[in-house]
């Protein structure tokens, strides 16, 4: 636990800073309906840096930053103009054009200077896990300055005021500066999540900017905490785990918003049938699939069997069960044998006697054989299961259909009319 805290608290602080500024820009971006503008600005900044690198400037130098900034300002200039064209062409289309052209131009430049590839990758794929004090020292003053600038110019920069070209330019230019630094720290995917998802939740629940910001910041902080914790606990790449956590948070916010508009009875009355219909669709779909193609993949059955291996007993004969378990045991044994040989070879590189080429080849050959044998056992498992499903397709499918019918709201009551289970009154039959 202490390890996790020691490792994650600085990335968490960086995430808070990024959420702080991006939620604000996100609300503006949603109001302007230019959702992917951050991708276009980050890509064009990367193009500028790649050009600088190709011209011989050092990757971290002032000249490279100047090129990057100049390209971003150029993009801001173009974006400020495109607002005026949006009557005829959606602004998102032009943003998409800027993105793909900048990306393609960067590839063309890299083709001429391959050593720039890693530099370009670093601009666009940050890793929030490896951020530290030096990053905070750069972004905190920068984001504060831009935040203050926007607060001072808030009346001019509001999305509704967009007729003035100059203020549009100031908005996109300052946003470009923010995005350029944040993408290098956290990567394109995570910055997009910071930008859109907390802002979307804020806009969903509040009408005024301060309330939207407050909600966005709280939701962003919670989602970041959940993402970082999940990333540590489940051994997942941090950026991707955080993006999924933000997505889950937005989905949850959508459900909460929907529930908030209705009474508890109404909500229950809608959710329960909806969930039941989901189960019906899943069961009926799986039933049809198993009856039509018993040898195909069956995600529902496979998931149930992965969690409860005993469930196979429902449709396996005793002989099939024995063969399946036998194959499973041997597959595991071959895996272990191959792994042991591998470990022996790996250890021998630095410890003890060096293995000669002949022994290494023999080990490789053994590992190949074990792997093929394991593959054979896996084939046996698949084949036994497929044959058992083929044999019992109607029973399995029928069983699932019965469950689907039982779960479907209102079906049972229609099939079995109300009162049919009641005892007949004496003499009623007459």
């Amino acid at each position: 636990m202490m390890d996790a805290v020691a490792l994650l608290w600085l990335p968490f602080l960086v995430a808070l800073c990024l959420i702080g500024i991006h939620t604000y820009f996100g609300i503006q971006v949603l109001a302007r309906n230019v959702i992917f503008v951050d991708l276009a600005l980050a890509q064009i900044a990367a193009l500028g840096a790649t050009l600088a690198f190709m011209l011989g400037h050092p990757a971290q130098g002032a000249a490279t930053y100047a090129y990057s900034l100049a390209f971003t300002l150029l993009a801001a200039f173009i974006l400020a103009f495109t607002r005026a064209w949006s009557q005829r062409i959606p602004q998102e289309a032009l943003i998409g054009v800027i993105y793909v052209v900048a990306a393609a131009a960067a590839i063309l430049l890299i083709d001429r200077a391959p050593q720039g590839a890693e530099h370009l990758k670093q601009i666009l794929t940050g890793n929030i896990l490896t951020t530290g004090w030096h990053d905070l020292a750069v972004i905190v003053p920068l984001y504060l300055a831009i935040g203050i600038l926007h607060w001072l110019l808030r009346a001019r920069l509001a999305a509704q005021q967009g007729e003035t070209w100059l203020w549009e330019f100031v908005f996109y230019a300052s946003f470009g500066v923010v995005v350029t630094s944040s993408v290098a720290l956290a990567g394109v995917l995570l910055v997009f999540s910071f930008l859109i998802m907390p802002a979307a939740v804020g806009v969903l629940f509040a009408a005024t900017l301060p309330c939207q910001l407050a909600i966005g910041w709280i939701v962003g902080a919670l989602a970041s905490t959940a993402g970082l914790a999940a990333s540590y606990a489940a051994d997942l790449p941090t950026g991707a785990a955080m993006v999924c956590s933000f997505g889950a948070m937005l989905a949850l916010a959508g459900v909460v918003k929907w529930l908030a508009g209705q009474s508890t009875a109404d909500a229950t009355g809608r959710i329960v049938p909806a969930l039941r219909w989901c189960v019906v669709a899943l069961m009926a779909g799986s039933a049809i699939l198993v009856m039509a193609a018993p040898r195909a993949d069956h995600p529902l059955l496979d998931s149930i069997e992965a969690v409860f291996p005993q469930a196979r007993r429902i449709y396996f004969t005793r002989a099939e069960s024995d063969t399946y378990l036998d194959a499973e045991k041997y597959a595991e044994r071959y895996r272990r044998e191959a792994e042991q040989l591998n470990e022996r070879e790996t250890r021998s590189r630095a410890e003890g006697e060096t293995l000669d080429d002949l022994t290494v080849r023999r080990i490789s050959s053994f590992i190949r054989s074990y792997t093929e044998m394991r593959r054979g056992e896996e084939f046996v498992k698949r084949e036994v299961r497929a044959r058992a499903r083929e044999r019992t397709r109607w029973m399995l499918g029928g069983l699932m259909l019965v469950v689907a019918l039982a779960v479907a709201p209102g079906v049972l009551t229609r099939l079995v009319p109300a009162g049919s289970f009641r005892r007949s009154p004496p003499g009623g039959a007459a």
Partner: protein, 348 residues
Amino acid sequence: MSASGWATARASGAPCLRGMHRHEQGAGARGAPCLRAAYCAPGVLAILLAFAASAVAQEKLRILTTTTDLKSLAEAVGGDRVEVMSLVPPNLDPEEYQAKPQDVVRLKDARVVVRVGLDFDLWLDRLLTQATLTHADVRNLRRGGPGHVDASQAIAVLDQRGIAVGPSDGHAHASGNPHYWLDPKNAEIITGNILETLARIDPANGAYYEANRLAFLARLEAALADWSTALASLQGVPIVAYHNSWAYLARRFRLNFIGFIEQKPGVAASPARLAELIRIMGERKVPIIVRQPHEPDRAAAFLADKTGAAVVVLAGSVGALPAAQDYLSLFASNVAALSAALKAVPTR
């Protein structure tokens, strides 16, 4: 495409170019008497002789390799009677190479193609198939063809795990670790594979190629002794690397790579993995983290910051660093970098 056009087509590949220009100058010197005669003769004769000079230049056997390492080794065997070009320029990841239209033209003009194999340069098969559609002769360069050299033939392959069982076993290469050129001893097998094909395609120069190869291997053997001495102090010293590219180097020089930052290709390390690495590096007092120039530096720098280890950038291929200009200097520069890093690290 003319001979010079073939040689200069990849202007961006600086290290390969130097070699090519040298060969061109050699060809020009042999063609010089013909040219002098052409200057004195009437115009028609001049044109004919110019064609003859061009033919002399084209006599060089054209070899295409997928990587710069194989290019360097093919040059060592072929000497000045071959013209070698690497399809992938230095410092570009050969596994992610995207072929270009000009590559088809280069294949058309080549008589031998040398590949890494072991699923490292699979894109070559698609390129060869594509080139065969327009240039029938290219079929000689396809797998099984007389001009196709799979340099991995007869290599003792390491890290042969998880094949055929699925991606969950964590190895991207079904046929084992493909970075086998990083064991200098494997140059014997690689150059042997190249020699076999060159001698079959161009039997007149077979003895010349064989002599070249033996001379190169003698130089390599002498250098190997020096490198082994220089790296003796690193034996058993625990090292962490960004990617598992160094299995063959480790086996040859008894280097102890105890962990890798990137466990699955292209997937960033998780916090749990980094925490585990920090713990292991602290416990085992790891002094060095190794990464290649094209690999991300942030994770390595982060670990170095947390543990006090030094990050050493090693060339995984010829041309990846300015000091690694050919196969011998690739090892010389890496050995120098590792030795310097170990000396710079305070006694732990």
